[in-house]
Symmetry: C2
Subunit: 148 residues, 2 copies
Amino acid sequence: MKKVKAVRAKEEVIKKLRSKGLKITPQRMAIIDVLKGDYTHPSVEEIYQKLSPRYPTISYATIYKTLETLCEIGEIIEVNIEPHKKRYDPFTHPHHHFRCLSCGKIEDIPLEDVAFPQIPANVKKKYGIMHATLYLYGLCPACRANSN
Amino acid sequence: MKKVKAVRAKEEVIKKLRSKGLKITPQRMAIIDVLKGDYTHPSVEEIYQKLSPRYPTISYATIYKTLETLCEIGEIIEVNIEPHKKRYDPFTHPHHHFRCLSCGKIEDIPLEDVAFPQIPANVKKKYGIMHATLYLYGLCPACRANSN
DNA sequence: CTGAATGCAAAAGCTTTGCAGCCAA
DNA sequence: TTGGCTGCAAAGCTTTTGCATTCAG
């Protein structure tokens, strides 16, 4: 059940914030609430839109800073599949991303569908590889259905 | 020999521009000259800086439009390994990109070093996959040497 | 000659920064 | 009480757009 998962995830974030000496503020909680359980890879603009009804005075600055913080503590991931617009993913386990070139929708691609690229030990060592990202582009099932 | 390669590459571009009914302008030629033979993945700003001594009146608008055109005809590739700054690669054969998290340098990673991820036929079909990009992040040899 | 390309300037889109005031711990 | 956090406004950086002028074919 997604709600239970999200609640558990939120507890995790609170614990991690505390452990790093970071404060538990209503704004941070609100942003975590929006993110955890949202698998559409929302942009800052979209996060702001979701927050503003309940938090009319929340600012973009706060959102940007909070997202940076959450990335730093490893609770969310930056998805740069779209040039010039960062998106965020609450699912931090290794996986890939797909973006539909027609509707722009972004979807997670699990490792079961596309195996993680094998990086040979010598390459890893030479470049001190710390992480790698695979982005896939195409036309999602819905868009292909429409264009037929 | 790089110069010969670049010259040959330039001829190719001219041919392709002609075949698409696009004009051969001094600005386009200058931009191609800068790109072909530059494997540092220059940004628009860097391209502008290289051009301005010889073409003091060239505009960013022209550079942006030309780069878009060259991408469309498949002569260069957009590299979005750095958020909010497009970079361009004259080498269009399939390969990966590495970015040093310390100095920011971007390097090509050939398929011989890291194999292209296998995308199963059913996944390809489901998402109508048209292309895929692998970005690698780490610390380049020079930066690791410095931090030791 | 003519439509496409250029160059300028203005605007747009996303993100960052400075700083005064506020609040979680 | 106090340092970290918030929110506002301004600025920054990259990219796009509109339009008059220029020029390649």
